[in-house]
Assembly symmetry: C2
Homo-oligomer: 200 residues x 2
């Protein structure tokens, strides 16, 4: 059985939880509160020198970090990761988009608004984060026009990766009403079999 | 024959060039100067709504963005991307690390130092970029201790992805002498068959 080290309210960790639930694959969950330094202890850094969750541990002790690499590994051979080479390329394209052009703005705005004091210096970052996050949502809105899912015609780990922080973007100050295709897609993801909500 | 839209001095674009040269796969290269707005024209945005290079175009017009998704697609079935599931997971782990914890600091510091005027307001970002970039280099240094390459025992696209901006980190103000394992690995990459230098 695999073990996931993570924080349930982190979108990156929730991605892994959601996929494991949908795969109906048993797993052990170890809570690690990254917002309170638990990814920076010597014990945790010995497992992941980059000091981040989620972290996947196999029952033989092998360790894998990076949420989207974990999704890709767990989804291999399942309907959540297509076998077709071009579809696989598109899945990865959207997962790299998520980590580079989406998460650093939408997740970070949510972190600043939800986890830091209202007078924290990092609030000055918010205007730039809202601008860049809106660019990412606009790219998603455009892509979803006439499409049901991000890669091909079915629900994949690309959707899981992008759902994680998009569905709670309002927590960081984004108004999703401006992105109707994105809202319809969010509902489509929530209607998938064995969908579970993020615990906040 | 595939077409690559890119800027030769961009590490993200150079990754694709280096792999194609090492694969000895013919390609057409279309110069797009992202530093001077050429990724923001209506023509280019019609090809990639996210307005970034590199962009891969197949001969039937299909398009793929995100440098590391392009590497993964092109390397499939070649020695640059192992067939073993666990090695593939590690390759992706390091490629996501590169895009999230390395490139946003090391590449951005290089961009600010090399492309913006010396009195540009963004120079105030440099101390934070140098601190975070140093953290990434420290993670790499630790991982490379006792290892020749990032994933498994051979040169893969994980090495290509990380080489691109690490080898020119000094351009952004990093002192690589503090990372001897990284320096030895850089030389090991440069010694690979059909290696080509980045054109700057």
């Amino acid at each position: 059985m695999v073990t996931v080290y993570g924080m349930k309210a982190s979108g990156n960790c929730y991605k892994v939880q959601l996929l494991l639930e949908q795969l109906q694959r048993p797993y052990r969950w170890v809570d690690i509160d990254s917002a309170h330094g638990e990814t920076r202890t010597p014990q945790f850094l010995a497992k992941n020198a980059n000091g981040k969750v989620p972290l996947l541990e196999l029952d033989d002790g092998r360790l894998l970090s990076e949420s989207n690499a974990i999704l890709h590994f767990l989804a291999e051979g399942t309907p959540y990761l297509p076998a077709d080479a071009w579809l696989r390329a598109q899945v990865l394209q959207w997962m790299f988009f998520e980590q580079y052009s989406h998460e650093p703005y939408i997740a970070v705005a949510r972190f600043i608004c939800g986890w830091l004091p209202t007078d924290h210096a990092r609030r000055t970052e918010l205007p730039r984060l809202l601008e860049r996050g809106a660019q990412a949502l606009t790219v998603m809105e455009k892509h979803l026009s006439g499409r049901e899912f991000f890669a091909g015609d079915s629900y994949t780990i690309a959707d899981i990766a992008l759902f994680a922080y998009t569905h709670c973007a309002a927590d960081g100050g984004f108004d999703l009403a401006a992105y109707p295709e994105v809202c319809t897609w969010l509902a489509r993801v929530q209607a998938q079999p064995r969908f579970v909500r993020m615990q906040v």
